[in-house]
Symmetry: C2
Subunit: 241 residues, 2 copies
């Protein structure tokens, strides 16, 4: 049995832009989030589809102009502070002090891949002593949104997830804060998201952050045969009365 | 007083990709939609901001990869059927048969601009006889969305609006259908949107189209000082406990 990383008093944490080498971890995190929301029956994301949609699609848009993911990492060792300046997004580093110890029973599943370690080493220009002590703990998935009512666009947060053993440590706020900072950097004036009505913990969390619930809305979807029928209806060339 | 275009038995209609020459009409439509939703107090879109966000921003993304607008036009004369093939989106043409006549009291405000007329003339390679008989009647504003649960992205419809005198004629369905067709063309598997809970007409309309209401959600927003505070909090370099 592999050693478990135990965080007894503090955690070094980092939020950074996801790269293609994170796809395997993203897929596991997305599945865990779907499980939390009882959505596994419809979950059909694959590592290939995540790669296509986030990193290799025909989509010509760079990060922040289309769907973008941030990865939350934790470590018992400090991250290199000055070596990871990124032209697109400078990673955000935080030290989190713990009220009680954390044992991560899934650490082998979420250890940061060698690819990332080697990237870090290259940037740092020396081997990292903590190669195997970096774990993926969560993610946030978001994209720009724009309403004709407003002068500026915003970000819409589609998914935000922190693995269970790392909750109640401020990491959700850290992920959210990374998105909010980037919004302000781009001149965006709002961050929007949806929360399911039964998730009282999440609702309390967001209200506590200073967010507000907008007017009562219904969330609609058209998909599958219903969507196909609509497109066919459109292509039949007939009159629409 | 200008003549009013009266549609007695049928309307020729077209849905096409919006261009920069539509900004003035888009701005008026957006304001009318905000008024319908009692949102004029927060409405701050300007012609300049619409131009920036839709047509001239630093956003390097082409239509359908970021925020995109379709324009609904109506005319008492037929649109040129074969001359407006567009490499990005072929306009959709429909003839709508009316149950009762329509008088458009705002026709001077929504007459298609000379710019568009001249574009049409160029494409058609001859002057259009109906230069001044094309009116803007509505729009839809949408952008791609992506959830980590699913293999494929979708479109999110942010605004859809048909001017009052043109309602109940199938134009909402025609605008929606244009988005649905494009979704399918791109391999997208869903179209999502929100509707305010009080808008029973809209809810009935969407349910009648085969769409379904997803689970109960709360719509959250962080903006203004709340958003600024969050970004500042993130930049202070302090620990986040």
């Amino acid at each position: 049995m592999a050693e478990k990383i135990s965080f007894s008093t503090q955690i070094f944490s980092r939020v950074r832009l996801a790269t293609e080498s994170d796809v395997s971890h993203l897929h596991k995190l997305m599945y865990q989030m779907a499980k939390y929301h009882n959505y596994t029956k419809v979950f059909n994301a694959t590592k290939a589809s995540i790669t296509t949609n986030l990193f290799k699609s025909d989509n010509p848009c760079p990060p922040f102009y289309s769907v973008t993911a941030f990865i939350l990492e934790v470590s018992s060792d400090s991250f290199p502070q000055n070596t990871l300046k990124n032209p697109i997004f400078d990673p955000i580093l935080k030290i989190v002090n713990l009220d009680s110890p954390i044992l991560d029973s899934d650490l082998e599943l979420f250890r940061t891949s060698n690819n990332i370690s080697s990237i870090l080493s290259e940037v740092d220009n020396k081997p990292l002593s903590s190669d195997n002590n970096v774990l993926v703990a969560g993610y946030v998935l978001f994209y720009p949104c724009y309403s004709g009512y407003f002068e500026k666009p915003g970000f819409f947060i589609e998914n935000m997830f922190v693995r269970e053993c790392y909750r109640k440590c401020g990491f959700g706020k850290m992920l959210f804060s990374a998105v909010a900072s980037q919004a302000i950097k781009l001149g965006f004036t709002k961050v929007d998201w949806l929360t399911v009505g039964w998730n009282e913990n999440a609702i309390d969390f967001y209200l506590g952050m200073g967010a507000y619930i907008m007017q009562d809305v219904k969330r609609f979807r058209l998909c599958g045969d219903g969507l196909d029928a609509f497109a066919t209806n459109d292509q039949d060339g007939g009159d629409m009365v």
